[in-house]
């Protein structure tokens, strides 16, 4: 499944998109996931490799992708983390 | 950046216009004359001036004819020419710029308070009951006339004289 340079620092937006789609659709094959996330196939594969290494996603026998509990938690942590900062900003009426 | 330059140019134009507009002056005078009177239009020699003069001879009652008629008024101009009027009469006088002047002036025609200065470079006055000396030694004299220009005429008779003067001092 190796498809080029490995990802050193992933784009949080791409990561969040993949996880969100997997959360909503439960199980998808690579092509359907690439279409749903709007990513090129090659880019998706590189992200999936990286996510598999971190145990965020897993592949079944048919090659379909599912989100792990760790992956779902990471997504929730990411949202919580951003909210921790954005939530503290007060917006004066301008 | 282009707008900043355009604005700068416009501000300079406005400042120039404003300065130029402040060089315009106006004066108005309205008087009743009787017997011998003088109308004196004066200006600093560096100014242009137009004066619009209106003369309304007084109405008198002719008891014999039971009518209302205007008085006989005689105008005598600087060159000695005369004009008889028995009805409303108006004319314009234009005094051109005759010399350049630098520095301030404050001129008073001899014996009569026709004040000309940088702040008031034009003047118009109607003087009632003046003596013949006024025309000979007053406005007629050459004293100070290198600094100011004077136009005058004599009015004999009862009338209402109205003068509107406009000047440009540059």
């Amino acid at each position: 499944m190796n498809s080029g340079e490995p990802i050193s620092k992933p784009d949080l937006y791409v990561l969040a998109r993949i996880i969100k789609v997997l959360k909503e659709r439960q199980k998808l094959n690579r092509t359907a996931l690439a279409t749903a996330t709007g990513l090129s196939y090659d880019r998706l594969i590189r992200y999936l490799e990286w996510m598999e290494g971190k145990e965020f996603v897993q592949f079944d026998a048919e090659g379909d992708i599912t989100l792990t509990k760790k992956g779902a938690k990471t997504y929730d942590d990411l949202v919580k983390w951003i909210l921790q900062y954005v939530g503290k900003v007060r917006f004066p009426k301008i | 950046m282009k707008k900043a330059w355009l604005l700068l140019v416009l501000i300079l134009v406005i400042a120039t216009q404003w300065t130029f507009l402040s060089a315009f002056h106006s004066v108005s005078e309205s008087q009743i004359t009787n017997e011998t009177s003088a109308v004196v239009i004066s200006k600093a020699n560096y100014a242009f001036m137009r004066a619009h003069i209106e003369i309304f001879p007084e109405y008198i009652v002719n008891y014999t004819a039971q009518t209302l008629q205007q008085a006989n008024v005689t105008l005598t101009f600087q060159d000695g020419s005369q004009k008889q009027i028995t009805e409303n009469y108006a004319f314009d006088v234009f005094l051109t710029r005759t010399a350049s002047h630098f520095g301030s002036i404050s001129a008073v025609t001899p014996g009569y308070s026709i004040l000309i200065s940088d702040d008031h470079p034009i003047n118009a006055a109607v003087m009632s009951n003046v003596s013949e000396d006024f025309f000979t030694y007053g406005v007629g004299s050459s004293y100070l006339l290198d600094r100011i220009d004077v136009y005058w005429f004599k009015i004999e008779g009862d009338a209402h004289v109205s003068i509107s003067g406009y000047g440009l001092a540059i």
Partner: protein, 222 residues
């Protein structure tokens, strides 16, 4: 939680849209000044033409042409300022806002994308410009109001003095001072509003500076 995030992001992006509109007001101040200056220069040209015309006997002060020139002076001056105001308004209305909405509809990923794309240094610069712009805007508004009121009052005073013959009294200074009082009075609410907006923009600047600082320092560990 995700809804909380998108709601907060919506507030942030709306505030930034508002800053963009304010920035446009500042940017259009140059247009406003040019149009106003152009109308003042044109009005003064008409006034000069009227004065020259009378002086050199092209027409009399009581002629229709002199009246027309006086009327044109007022129309050009007032019309120029009104047009400049419309022009600024038009530019502000054409500022594209809410372009972030489709991205935010994606939910948390959209919020992340928007946060990643924000250029904080430019935003802080825009807020600072908006603050300065409001101060200039408030003062310009008072000045322009004063100018219009002064022209109208002096015009009315000139007309009045020609009727009641009070030419000996110099009404110009009185009318100019009265115009200042009226201009400040009619703009008092706007001045107060601008003052509060400058304060609120200041508060927003501090809040966003804090956010940028904290958010940039923190790193999400996956």
């Amino acid at each position: 939680m995700e809804q909380n995030l998108t709601a907060k992001m919506e507030m942030l992006m709306t505030a930034l849209d508002q800053v963009r509109k304010y920035k446009e007001i500042v940017a259009s101040m140059a247009d406003f000044a040019v149009i106003t200056a152009l109308s003042i220069a044109t009005a003064l040209a008409f006034l000069m033409l009227a004065k020259f015309g009378v002086l050199f006997g092209w027409f009399n002060p009581w002629d229709g042409i002199a009246g027309l020139l006086a009327l044109l002076t007022v129309i050009v001056l007032v019309g120029g300022v009104v047009f400049a105001g419309f022009w600024v308004n038009r530019r502000v209305r054409h500022v594209k806002v809410g372009q972030w909405k489709p991205t935010l509809e994606e939910g948390a990923p959209g919020a992340i994308k928007l946060l990643q794309e924000l250029n904080w240094e430019n935003i802080f610069k825009d807020i600072r410009r908006a603050k300065m712009g409001f101060t200039i805007y408030g003062l310009t508004r008072v000045f322009i109001s004063w100018l219009i009121i002064a022209v109208v009052l002096n015009f009315a005073a000139g007309f009045l003095s020609s009727i009641v013959h009070v030419a000996e009294i110099n009404l110009t200074l009185t009318m100019d001072l009265l115009s200042v009082v009226i201009a400040v009075f009619i703009n008092r609410k706007d001045l107060q509003k601008r003052y509060e907006q400058v304060g609120n923009l200041d508060a927003l600047l501090w809040e966003l500076r804090w956010f940028d600082n904290e958010f940039r320092r923190a790193d999400f560990e996956t």
